[in-house]
Amino acid sequence: MPVKTLIKKGLYFDSVSLMRIAQKLNSLPGISDSAVIMATKENKNIISSSGLLSEEIKKASDNDLAVAVKADSEKSAVQALSEAEKLLSGKKENKEISGSLRACDISQAVSMSQGLNLALISVNGRYAADIAKEALEKGLNTMIFSDNVPLEKEIELKKIGAKKNLLVMGPDCGTAIINGAPLGFANKVNSGSIGVVGPSGTGIQEFTCAVSNLGAGISQAVGTGTRDVKDEVGALTTIEGLKMLSQDPRTRVIAIVSKPPQKKSLEKIISFVKKIKKPVVTVFLGSSQEYPSVKNIHTAKNLYEAALKAYILSKGENPHLVKERMYNEKIALAERIKKEKAKKREYSKYLRGLFSGGTFASQALYLLQPVLGPIYSNIPLSPEFKLKNSMKLEKNSIIDLGEDEFTFGRPHPMIDYSLRKKMIAAQALNKDVSVILLDIVLGYGSNMNPLAELSDTLKEAFKANPSLSIIAAVTGTDMDPQNKKELMKALEDTGVMALENNYAAAFAAGEILRKK
């Protein structure tokens, strides 16, 4: 009679579960005996005397699980072992909270697991709206990662959501952190009392990481999708998110991270914020608007300032301390900036910003244009500075490589560095280029090994242009799978000026290029 065996190293089960599996195996056609047992010396003796021993089991240790079946045919034995595998993995999945179950559609998913309250939808944009609608009808909040969903569909979904008190994050929502679970492109951050909402994906990542690196934590991060603050949509998700955060007992400080909302949307947001009893930090990138009549609003001009204000408010301290801290941090960079400046030649004069995050490109534009003058871009601040060809950079230029023109048919530049590597190499050959400004976004969904991908290109770039400065803003935390601290150290070792955030990087770039 053929005997087949299987060893599962270091796998522990309670005895009743193992007995049940053994019973199930014994009941299969063609199986005359089976053992599902820890491979201790004494158990091996019984396995042996039962005629179930194999070389594999002989080698197994006390802490390994042994499965052995005796069958009337080779086929039955193989089938029984595969059944055992299935039963064992099923048991393991049931024990874990995040066990993976496959469902054909939303209805089946809802019936398979009790207590579901969120659907993450990442399908072709053509189908995303219908699936999201079904999810909303089943009472699920939705995060729609897909883009290319028609605007009218987005409005329809968000109206349904608002009616049912459900969140519709997206379409084109790249990031969220719900109850500590990072969704989409997101980072592993501390859990805490600061909640954030907004349409800016990489902006939320930068904010949450900065908060975490400062020592505070995030309660919830709600992405809304890029079009939410357009007047047609009316900031429906932003307001729904604010409502939920204002009711969330864990959230003590709320932040809104966004490009400037359109007029009507902004009015709606501000009038809702007035009703909230918690402090609200707003960063509407590029807008210097203040709201002196709204006591609980604390405005910030950039993402880092917003994170600092939220952090200080969460500690119950005065937000005016932020200015002093930011000033001191700038002073701390002076030596490094001086060193970079010293290696410049007369012809080194231009900036090239190669960004994977749209918000980072925008923030760098807002921060650097007042220092350097006009900056050409594929997302310029004024239409006259629009690059004619986004691949051909001129004078001071900053491009967002995450724009559709670059991502059509290829992965997002946060994952795939190939295009950016080509552009770094090309820009380094141009002696006029003095500073290359980069963003490196860590976390789930992003490139898992940025250093290995970039190091050769960076070394070649310095070789080709010794007076070149490369500044990289690293968005992430030490808890991310890529480990921010280690990456920053390795980048510094290759000659890159690796900085904590986009604000610091843009400041350093501006100072290096600033004319005396």
Binding site: F13, M38, S50, N179
Partner: protein
Amino acid sequence: MLFAKNKPAQKIKLLSYSSDIKNGAYELHSKFLKAANYKKGREIISFVIREIGDGPGNIVVNSPPDFDTIRISKNKIYSGKEKFELPKKKYFPKIENKVFLPRYAINRLIKYTLKSSPPLSMSFVFDEKREIFFNSPFLKKMLFRMKKGAELLKKDKIDSAVKILCGLGVGLTPSGDDFLSGAALAYYVLGKQKKAKKIFCLSHTDNLISYNNIRNSSQGKCSSGVKDIIKKISQNEYCRKSLKKVLNTGSTSGADFLSGFLFTLSNCL
């Protein structure tokens, strides 16, 4: 409601801890719904929920943590950036030796154990009818070895009994190990510490949980449930609640432990 009302699971609440927990760095050994075991060399400590309760090496918590590693130092537990103060409530797992245990009380406990044990536990040592559950050729062979081991223990041939029973059986802690652990505690309670120590010295298991269980029993350390049973039977009181608690430990572990404990007591009294 999308946002969880409770704080994240990592925010564990420590309720009580065992006095024999040693300082040092521990790494995750195994995790179950009601317990998470951490190891340091051959030492095991367990975060257990209230339902399991105090015991040697146990830290009672509201829910088992998800930490990969922990460090215990100066009455604090550290994991990453998290820090927890050990609670004020301390459990002392050691029991007295030479406790008076009346035979009729032991018989009453055996009856209850038989009634409430899961089918494939070693409670067949009290009633042959329970052997019926061992129905496959493999299980019959296992039963034969278990019976032989128990017989040898009855004849006071501890060396041979340990050789057969150690590592014998199914589950995270094999039934034979749990049975031996119960036997070691029984010897300790009866004032026969040499025999209890002998069981520990002869047991050759690489299973860390079994190793710690047998060692603790041989030193007279036991869970609050077992401690309560011993106290109650010495005072001729009912202890069904504690019995139930012990029987619910693991899937057959509690019943195997009690079988070994009561089997040894009834043979020696």
